[in-house]
């Protein structure tokens, strides 16, 4: 996607806000210096003056920083609206086109069956996007899970992998579980649906960002005495070190992903992080760098 006009305007506003801030700070500093030169002999007055100038300069600097951050944020928000519009309207357009085709034309039975499968695919895609948006809204507001139950992580991981296999038409064990954990070995307290969504997002991402050669390893392992980690490793496009944290921000998408064919809304990992926090755990990423694969880990406290 090329930058659109509103994006260009924003970039200009960022530069403008920055320049204005720096200019004002420079004026304050010059005034401060001349003040010091004028009053360097009167102790208390000098001290008070310098202090108030420091406050002024600090305020200006903070104001500039906040302004720039807000402009950036609304830029990401715009990109999100575009992505969601696309993710909702594309499958809808496809379903509508095929339904009208079925109504208007006499088609052979196998073509009709193919069309119905295509429409089912599209409605799944639509449902995933909607679920993702609803879940982001739910996990983004409350801090804790409402009615926690016992959840077997091994089972959750198994379910997520078979789901991803169906969704991405994987047949040759491209996604595998390392070291077969036993059922009931890792039980956490929480919301099963949310945990399934979080692990599914990790596995989905791993497959999506792998390109043509999908090799994903999922590992469930104990960390210390009381925690368990689900880590998902891929051999895909990888992440540069300064983006390892940013990818968990809501609406954030890797610049490289925006130019590739990988579709997404920028919600997935922010949901993973929110779910981790709601369960008293954390989520983080590791990568040996761009084009060298990455590992995403969801760490949760075990049921005591």
């Amino acid at each position: 996607m090329r930058m659109d006009r509103s994006g260009g305007n924003r970039r200009r506003s960022v530069v403008l806000a920055g320049l204005l801030g720096v200019g004002l700070i420079a004026v304050a500093v010059v005034l401060n210096i001349s003040f010091i030169v004028n009053y360097w002999r009167t102790g208390l007055l000098l001290l008070l003056g310098v202090l108030s100038f420091v406050v002024l300069v600090g305020g200006l600097a903070l104001n500039t920083a906040f302004l720039i951050r807000e402009i950036r944020r609304s830029e990401q928000h715009d990109a999100f609206i575009h992505a969601v519009t696309h993710e909702l309207k594309t499958p809808l357009a496809s379903i509508k086109l095929y339904l009208q085709t079925l109504r208007q034309r006499e088609l052979p039975a196998d073509t009709r069956r193919g069309i119905i499968d295509t429409m089912l695919d599209d409605s799944d895609r639509l449902q995933r996007t909607i679920d993702q948006i609803l879940l982001a809204g739910k996990t983004g507001t409350a801090r804790r899970v409402d009615n926690p139950t016992d959840v077997d992580l091994t089972e959750v991981v198994g379910e997520c992998i078979s789901l991803a296999g169906k969704r991405h038409n994987l047949v040759n064990g491209e996604v595998e579980v390392i070291g077969r954990p036993a059922h009931g070995e890792f039980v956490v307290q929480g919301d099963r649906e949310e945990l399934v969504a979080a692990v599914t997002n990790l596995v989905d991402n791993a497959v999506k960002y792998s390109g043509d050669r999908v090799r994903v390893a999922v590992n469930v392992a104990k960390i210390g005495a009381r925690r368990v980690a689900v880590s998902v490793r891929d051999q895909g496009m990888g992440i540069t070190s300064h983006e390892l944290k940013r990818v968990f921000r809501r609406f954030y998408r890797l610049p490289a992903a925006l130019h590739s064919r990988v579709r997404g809304t920028g919600l997935g990992l922010s949901i993973v992080l929110a779910v981790a926090r709601r369960h008293g755990g954390r989520a983080y990423a590791d990568s040996r760098g761009f084009e060298r694969g990455s590992t995403f880990t969801l760490e949760l406290p075990l049921k005591s």
């Binding site: 996607m1 499958p91 809808l92 357009a93 496809s94 509508k96 086109l97 009208q100 085709t101 034309r105």
Partner: protein
Amino acid sequence: MSRVLIVEDEDHLAAGLKLNLEAEGYAADVEDTGEAALARLVDGGAPAAGRGFDVVLLDVMLPGLDGFEVVRRLRAARQFVPVMLLTARSHTDDVLRGFEAGADDYLPKPFDLSILLARIRGLLRRRRWLRGDGTERAVDADEYSFAGRRVDFRNQVLRRGRAEQPLTLMEATLLRYLVQHAGETVSRRTLLEEVWGVRQDTDTRTVDNFVARLRRYLEAEPAHPRHLLTVRGVGYRFVAEPDR
């Protein structure tokens, strides 16, 4: 048989469009990136008469080069095949941006199959009128001269001395309509209905955009037009020989 090039990276939509176009008796090819489409339509910078395509259906949100940029490059390479943009982005600014880039029509997703097919027929029909090889002839003459300029509607070219300015299909159709009604004031609404064949939902600023483009081609001073006059609050009037 008319040939349509579908440029769409969503496999499902591309397959659905191809199925329907073929059922309507068109030949349809699919490309899934802007780069590939440009390679098909522009041959080393020289257009080979549209490379055989009569209409291009172009998605806007493509990976790599987006649809707007693809039309812009097509027009820059003097490839004037009719282009219809298909996109989920239906905001007025997006639509205007598409027309500014040189598109001939714009259809937001999700669309009605019958409307899509009608619009494709419209583009093909206008192309035939301009080429003058159909039975339906909209205008008597294929050429028109005024104030030292000659417009060749059949080949979509504006000539002035040795200089040649190619026109897009919609530019040529609009100019032809205004020329046919020389001296009369034509409203923006009428132009939208008669030239673009749309009744509602299209912004009348589309017309303003096209008039601005035509002025750049045929006015000595586009800011002070003498041939393509604005009639405030109504529309436009074409004047071949201004009084002063």
